[in-house]
């Protein structure tokens, strides 16, 4: 197998970080040391909460559209908005002139 072919193959095969054989190895072995230091560097504990956006539109989106927060509530909000807008408009232009 030529060098180039091996290079191409190595992009397909994931790097060997740990294997069953390695786990049984001497804990002081170089490969195991690298493995432990790699995992030690990773952040621990629960994931930090995502920053709340300042933009009111993005905040609304985060609260009612994103991920598991997705719900039909925006439709209710929209209906209420239309109701208030429509009635105000109708009242000002029309209904208040009826006696």
């Amino acid at each position: 197998m030529s060098f180039i072919a091996r290079r191409q193959l190595s992009t397909l095969i994931p790097p060997k970080i740990a294997s069953v054989k390695n786990i049984g190895e001497n804990p002081n072995a170089k490969r195991m040391g690298e493995l432990v230091s790699f995992y030690k560097k990773l952040p621990t504990g629960p994931a930090p909460a995502a920053k709340k956006p300042i933009n009111p539109f993005l905040r609304y989106k985060a609260a009612y559209f994103d991920g598991n927060n997705a719900s039909g509530k925006p439709l209710v909000h929209f209906a209420a908005f239309i109701l208030i807008l429509g009635y105000t408009w109708e009242y000002q232009t029309h209904l208040k002139h009826h006696h």
């Binding site: 429509g86 029309h94 006696h99």
Partner: protein, 250 residues
């Protein structure tokens, strides 16, 4: 109580001014323009609902995908794989009609699709576009669309006349169908609602008797919700059919 209700069923379709320009309705800011802006804003922001925040689609994303898939299936079944070129147009038309129709179902809102002038203008320009597409694609052969296959020669002049009439009437009928359906639905809902209110307001007996039209109103509202979705679909389905005629002739 008098100030809560409209006094004529046709009042709901009136254009109301916000800003008047040169004493003309054409360039003024009316409730039609406001609702048009609202629907356009929602359509523009719809794409943000399709972002994947988790590994799977959320409920909004799935709703959008369902709409997308419905339209894609319809376009492919009508126009085949080549119809994909026109899918963005169809999807935009469908979402616009659907949102405009559904927004008009909210109380005190404005029925954009019931306005004959803009809807028929839209259908007219769509028909014109489809005709131009056919002429650009097939040149003079496009006119073979007006002669059905296997017509005996003596019948050709009559059939050409009839086919030309039927083809050009599509420009009107497409918009008229949507507009008339929405208009009649809204009128009926309001008239039934007023009947129910007047009956229940009249006496104790009328209060109980008014329950019957109330069931009718509920049924009508449900029917109108279904109708507003169906009409958007039917508009796009018929338009794809017309487009198919222009693309493949027979």
């Amino acid at each position: 109580m008098k100030k809560m209700f409209m006094h004529s069923p046709l009042e709901q379709f009136e254009m109301k001014m916000l800003l008047m320009m040169n004493d003309m309705l054409a360039l003024s800011m009316t409730n039609y323009v406001v609702y048009l802006g609202m629907v356009s804003f929602m359509m523009y922001n719809m794409m943000t609902l399709l972002n994947k925040t988790n590994l799977e689609w959320n409920r909004w994303g799935l709703a959008m995908l369902a709409m997308y898939d419905t339209m894609l299936n319809m376009v492919k079944s009508q126009m085949g794989n080549k119809g994909g070129y026109y899918f963005p147009l169809m999807f935009t038309l469908f979402t616009f009609m659907l949102m405009a129709n559904l927004v008009s179902m909210m109380p005190y809102s404005f029925a954009m699709s019931a306005q004959l002038v803009p809807v028929v203008s839209l259908s007219l320009s769509l028909w014109l576009g489809v005709t131009m597409l056919g002429l650009a694609k097939h040149k003079l052969v496009y006119f073979s669309l007006f002669v059905p296959n296997g017509t005996p020669l003596p019948l050709v002049p009559v059939l050409v006349l009839m086919e030309t009439l039927s083809n050009s009437s599509r420009a009107m009928s497409l918009g008229l169908r949507l507009s008339a359906n929405v208009l009649s639905g809204h009128l009926l809902m309001l008239m039934l609602g007023s009947l129910m209110f007047n009956l229940m307001n009249s006496s104790m007996f009328g209060m109980f008797f008014g329950m019957m039209p109330m069931l009718g109103v509920v049924a009508m509202v449900m029917l109108e919700f279904a109708m507003s979705m169906m009409q958007a679909y039917v508009f796009c389905m018929l338009f794809s059919g017309y487009m198919k005629d222009s693309m493949y002739l027979h």
